[in-house]
């Protein structure tokens, strides 16, 4: 009973836990709204040396520099898109965890829905055709006899 209680307590504690960020206390801006914006941007920027981590999640040197640059730009009055542009100008689209929709990436964005659409229409078409074309098998002699008796003829 105690074990179950402990397990539940642990699960609840895990629900409360949030992933640890690499953002260091000294980096945090005094203005909470600016800091919130910096976090939003930091979550969407990719650390350029760690493949699939945001700069907020990474403790790499470059990620720290990028976090600092994001905050400097925000303090200097840049809008969020301007900060993203600043990073893309230096590191390319690679730096965005969510790739932009453009000529080179349309397949990435539309590929899965497109295949779903094709598959769904193929299934629908075959179902429709089957219903329309499948001829009924003729009655056997036995069935014909039974039908006659049922109809009382």
């Amino acid at each position: 009973m105690i074990a179950v209680g402990r397990a539940i307590a642990l699960l609840l504690a895990l629900l409360l836990a949030s992933p640890a960020l690499a953002v260091e206390p000294t980096e945090v801006l005094k203005d909470p709204t600016l800091e919130a914006r910096a976090r939003g941007i930091g979550q969407a920027l990719r650390c350029v040396v760690c493949q699939n981590q945001s700069i907020d999640d990474s403790s790499a040197e470059v990620a720290r520099d990028m976090r600092r640059a994001v905050r400097e730009r925000l303090v200097a009055g840049d809008s969020d898109p301007q900060v993203f542009d600043y990073m893309v100008a230096r590191y390319g689209d690679y730096v965005l965890l969510k790739p932009p929709f453009k000529a080179g990436t349309w397949l990435l964005w539309l590929g899965a829905p497109l295949i779903l659409l094709i598959a769904a229409s193929a299934i629908m078409l075959t179902a429709l055709r089957r219903r329309a074309t499948a001829p009924l098998p003729p009655l056997s002699d036995e069935e014909r006899e039974r039908l006659k008796s049922l109809l009382g003829r």
């Binding site: 350029v48 040396v49 040197e61 470059v62 520099d65 640059a69 893309v88 230096r90 390319g92 690679y94």
Partner: protein
């Protein structure tokens, strides 16, 4: 007829995927590569304190002299930098290349000691202690090397240590071709 086509479909899908994988393997495609957006664009700002005593500050003017320039970000704590160092020595001595060294996140005294020990191929050397210049240059770490033509346009960008092959196939032809 259409039934038979239906059976070919999985095979076709497989062939398509196999083709894509083969292309990925053979074409030298590296999805982890950051690439460089700087190539073909004007070189970023360069404004650094000099590394060595008596040097002038490192400024943009050095990148627009009409002669090609190499910019190499290095650090004394970086092992791949050690590996590529002899190649820069060769570029400086045999090819007469103008090389600007930038000590990235490196204590100046450490960088100076490193150059003293290994030889100093840099005509100009600056310090980027806090990595701000590195960020402007889209640096992801050290070493990285940029080749800039006489008009200040970035023509080559190497992430990681340059190799013998980079030297003979890209850098030396660039130095000879860029006027």
């Amino acid at each position: 007829m259409s039934r038979r086509l239906l059976f070919i479909l999985p095979l076709l899908t497989l062939a398509l995927m196999a083709g894509f994988f083969a292309w990925s393997l053979m074409a030298g495609r590296d999805p982890a590569s950051i690439g460089s957006v700087l190539v073909g664009r004007p070189a970023p700002r360069l404004d650094l304190r000099p590394l060595r005593d008596g040097d002038k500050p490192i400024t943009d003017a050095l990148l627009r002299t009409g002669k090609p320039v190499l910019v190499n970000f290095f650090a004394s704590w970086c092992t791949p930098c050690l590996a590529e160092h002899p190649l820069f020595t060769r570029l400086a001595q045999r090819e007469g290349a103008t090389i600007i060294g930038v000590a990235w996140k490196n204590k100046p005294e450490d960088a100076r000691a490193w150059l003293q020990k290994l030889g100093d191929p840099f005509l100009y050397a600056g310090i980027d202690f806090d990595g701000k210049a590195g960020l402007d240059w889209g640096l992801s770490g050290v070493p990285e090397t940029y080749a800039i033509d006489g008009n200040g346009i970035v023509r080559l960008h190497f992430r990681g240590p340059i190799t013998e092959r980079n030297l003979t196939e890209q850098i030396i032809p660039f130095l000879k071709g860029a006027k």
